[in-house]
Symmetry: C2
Subunit: 170 residues, 2 copies
Amino acid sequence: MKRTHFFAIIFISVASLLYACNNSGSSSASTDKDTKPAFDLTAAKKGVEEGNKAFMELLKKGDSVGVANLYTMDAKLLGPNMPAAVGRSSIQSVLGGFVNAGFTNFSLITTEVWGYENLLSEEGVWALAGKDGKELDRGKYIVLWKMEDGKWKLFRDCWNSDNPPPPPAK
Amino acid sequence: MKRTHFFAIIFISVASLLYACNNSGSSSASTDKDTKPAFDLTAAKKGVEEGNKAFMELLKKGDSVGVANLYTMDAKLLGPNMPAAVGRSSIQSVLGGFVNAGFTNFSLITTEVWGYENLLSEEGVWALAGKDGKELDRGKYIVLWKMEDGKWKLFRDCWNSDNPPPPPAK
């Protein structure tokens, strides 16, 4: 074997090794790229904030269909002193009842949001005011949010009042 | 340079390359080992089931301290027609009130659990029976569970009744 051939073989061998070594590195890098990006809780919180803002604005207008569309198709409205309303159309009729009763002036304040890409859990406080702005009731809630059609929507909505129940209507 | 020296240098170079290549592989393998195992929702659901079982048993015995210990230190009891009870000692006094009122015979049935390693969200239905076993009330709840001291504990507990409020006591 000529000395030049020998060097050529050594060169190719080392180059192949370096390539293999480097390639194994880049293949693991591409695996990292394939991994889902870290869950962005800040963006999710913004989705909850937007959902609550739309909730308050649409309910104030008496748009129970618009508010119902903020819930997932399979949502459950877990309201106090009523059975669970299951599914968007049942939820819409409960919300229609709120509108008819004049319960449209709600404020929702998020206390905290926890979650991951499949589900958010929100804790908050709510208040209901009359048309004159006077507070009628207040309480707390836990809402579970789920992504549907690219938006965070209410999936479970459980709330209650801080106040003793009002005396029954005469 | 002697031919044998030359081969020795080539051998050492190739061996070093192989070692470096192999070592980078094993270091990425150890990174994989360091990564947390996939979240086990089945095990988490079992934790919730055990928590609820202990809740029912301890409350039936009137052990409000035992039930309060199923809540995290920073838990919030978000009960209907009362302000939020914040922290384990406040929760214990509300539970003590339940015991004094004879509200100890609760059944809790989990409907669904969602979650990840930091937080579980449970949906369920509850019923309260009197000492004679007759149902007094029933409703639904959302409980958020958090890991504390190696156990899933109640972190937020929001419930309400399916029934209209009872008439106020005379």
